[in-house]
């Protein structure tokens, strides 16, 4: 019983994907877009700025110093 529900859910998605027309192009666009966003932009252009500090302590020290210094 359990299995057949799972199977039905899977086949629902599989058939759905198979039956798509415009949808196929759209999925291609989504995948290319996600690839560009996460594999290129995020890694090479948008690293977390505070990621260079390896602990929360160092991050908060850095930020508090910045916040204090910039007011001068």
């Amino acid at each position: 019983m359990e299995k057949s529900v799972l199977k039905r859910i899977i086949s629902f998605y599989v058939e759905g994907f198979k039956g798509m027309t415009t949808g196929k192009t759209l999925w291609l666009i989504i995948l290319v877009k996600l690839f560009i966003m996460f594999a290129v932009l995020k890694i090479f252009f948008f690293p977390s700025y505070l990621g260079k500090f390896d602990s929360a302590d160092k991050k908060q020290n850095y930020v508090s110093n910045e916040l204090i210094q910039r007011a001068k």
């Binding site: 629902f12 415009t22 908060q60 910045e66």
Partner: protein, 572 residues
């Protein structure tokens, strides 16, 4: 510190980049919110009547919804990338206040996208009609709830509330989740923004359908779609003007400088008129020079309307830019407004208190870890003080306190400094951001952009209301088909509605400059120390990427529209 000039261009480029991504993201979101409701209403009609025509009609709009959704999905995440890279101080500083709503949004969005949307697109002949309809409504409800959490985060930046600043972590922590989630600013913003999406969705359906009518194609489909869209658009317009009025009164309470900029109001007063249209005087350079604010201006014919919009009373006092900078007027809560100078002084006190707190904290850690050597040093210092050199020889008067006592005294002093600075920080935290402001005039947002964007939004709001009213009238009188001027106007107004929404964001975001978080953190403190050229580079990468995506969207959309709903109209 970054060189001043570089800093300014860094801030400008980072803001330009954020604005570009936000504008772009906002091309997709309102259409999702608005088109989603229109198609759900159409499917509901199908569910009630069982008429296959409505099923096909709903399916066609759903297809366009899907195209828009696919191209737009995840474009909002780019804004989150930018927070982490370009606005890292801000991201750290806001901590879980921003994180919590966005995390909820992420989870909601994921589940919605994985389940209900799938049923909506794949489930037509596989699940029951009722289940399908429920999924369609839940898809759009999910998207709207997502929007709610994002707007809660934005609302908090406009009106920070419900948080406690923790000087140890330098983060704002959630004091009251409900105060954040249901702040009046967030609620108004949510309603106004979602309704603006409804207007855009309705205009889209009415405009595309009009295009079919202009080409004399899909006439039955187009007329039926228009009936649903224009009535919905009319309701959305009324509600959006009502909530826009609510937003204006929130702005008046929480961001008086934004309101003054929206109105080009330098000198406030009691019973102030609302500017209907006007041209700002470009030779007015300073808030306190004697130049006129306007070259030309006409007020809205209802006298004292700004006072009424802002505070619900025709004689209410509305401060202008000069008044806000000079202070001294009575605020609606009865307190006297501080001048910009005073706020800056308080901001400096707050930041100083944070600095003192940090050094005192560091001292107290030292006291813990190096108790013995500090004790010895204290004794030595005390002895040195009591050391006297005389001709008879050197003497040391016995020191009054033992090493332990000296140590306890020192510890008490450090703890007192911690408590004092913490208290001082707490008392002045509301003005924290003013500590970064060098001159009061930095507090004035770009006036022209804010003023004109507000006019554009409101005038287009009035225009769209009229348009929907006419369209509803002719549509329900079954005369829409012959009114070509109305069809043209509906088609062109798709762009006007989108433009109104973008202008709304300009009012909300440009109008609150220089603040990243109102009164608490200006952009100059929020920004990461990057090089301006690296931000320029990513700006242009986005420009290219977005243009390509936009072209893809328009191509796929227009080809789907050209193909049409393919309903055999003779059959029904």
């Amino acid at each position: 510190m970054i060189a001043e000039i570089d800093n300014i261009s860094l801030i400008d480029w980072s803001r330009a980049q954020f604005a570009l991504t936000a504008f772009y993201h906002w091309l997709f979101v309102p259409l999702t919110l608005g088109l989603g409701i229109v198609q759900a209403v159409m499917e509901t009609i199908y569910y009630k009547t069982g008429d296959e025509f409505w099923k096909k009609t709903a399916q066609f709009w759903m297809k366009l919804f899907g195209i828009n959704f696919a191209i737009g999905v995840a474009t909002g995440l780019i804004l989150e990338f930018e927070f982490g890279t370009n606005w890292s101080n801000y991201s750290w500083f806001v901590g879980d206040i921003f994180g919590a709503p966005l995390a909820i949004e992420g989870v909601v969005a994921f589940f919605m996208e994985a389940t209900f949307i799938a049923v909506m697109f794949f489930g037509w002949n596989k699940v029951s009609k009722g289940f399908h309809l429920t999924s369609t409504w839940l898809t759009i409800a999910g998207a709207t709830i997502s929007a709610f959490w994002i707007l809660v985060a934005n609302g908090w930046m406009q009106y920070p509330t419900g948080m406690v600043f923790n000087p140890d972590t330098v983060r704002n922590e959630m004091g009251s989740f409900w105060a954040v989630a249901f702040s009046p600013v967030a609620l108004n913003k949510f309603l106004h923004t979602v309704l603006s999406g409804w207007i855009i969705g309705a205009m889209f359906v009415a405009g595309i359908s009009s295009w079919y009518l202009l080409r004399k194609r899909e006439v039955k489909f187009a007329l039926a779609s228009i009936k649903v869209a224009v009535a919905f658009g009319l309701i959305a317009c009324f509600l959006s003007i009502w909530t826009g009025d609510g937003s204006a009164s929130q702005v008046a309470k929480q961001q008086p400088m934004k309101l003054a900029a929206m109105e080009g109001l330098y000198e406030g007063g009691e019973g102030v008129n609302l500017v209907g249209a006007g041209i700002l005087n470009p030779s007015k350079k300073e808030y306190n020079d004697n130049e006129e604010a306007f070259l030309f201006k006409i007020d809205v014919p209802i006298p004292k309307f700004l006072s009424y919009l802002a505070f619900g009373k025709f004689n209410a006092y509305v401060p202008g830019i000069k008044n806000i900078i000079e202070g001294g007027y009575t605020k609606p809560d009865g307190s006297i407004a501080l001048s910009a100078e005073e706020k800056i002084a308080r901001g400096k006190l707050a930041i100083n208190a944070l600095a003192n707190y940090k050094t005192a904290k560091a001292d107290s850690v030292l006291l813990e870890h190096k108790a013995d050597s500090i004790k010895n040093a204290l004794v030595l210092a005390a002895e040195t003080e009591n050391y006297t050199e005389t001709s008879e020889g050197d003497t040391i008067t016995a020191i009054a306190l033992t090493g332990d006592e000296l140590f306890a005294e020192k510890k008490a002093a450090v703890h007192a400094k911690i408590a004092d600075s913490r208290q001082q920080l707490k008392e002045n935290f509301a003005y924290f951001g003013y500590g970064y402001i060098k001159e009061p005039k930095e507090l004035i947002p770009p006036l022209g952009l804010t003023f004109y964007a507000f006019r554009v939004m409101v005038i287009l709001g009035g225009f769209l209301l009229l348009l929907f009213a006419f369209a509803t009238y002719f549509s329900y009188k079954n005369k829409f088909e012959t009114k070509r001027w109305l069809q043209w106007t509906c088609l062109i107004s798709i762009f006007l509605a989108i433009f109104a929404g973008q202008a709304g964001w300009v009012v909300a975001e440009v109008g609150r400059q220089p603040w990243a978080i109102q009164d608490i953190l200006p952009t100059s403190a929020a920004i990461s120390k990057l090089s301006a050229s690296s931000v320029q580079l990513t700006f242009f990468i986005f420009l290219v990427l977005f243009t390509v995506l936009l072209i893809a969207e328009l191509k796929i959309l227009t080809s789907a529209i050209k193909k049409g709903p393919q309903i055999n109209e003779n059959k029904n």
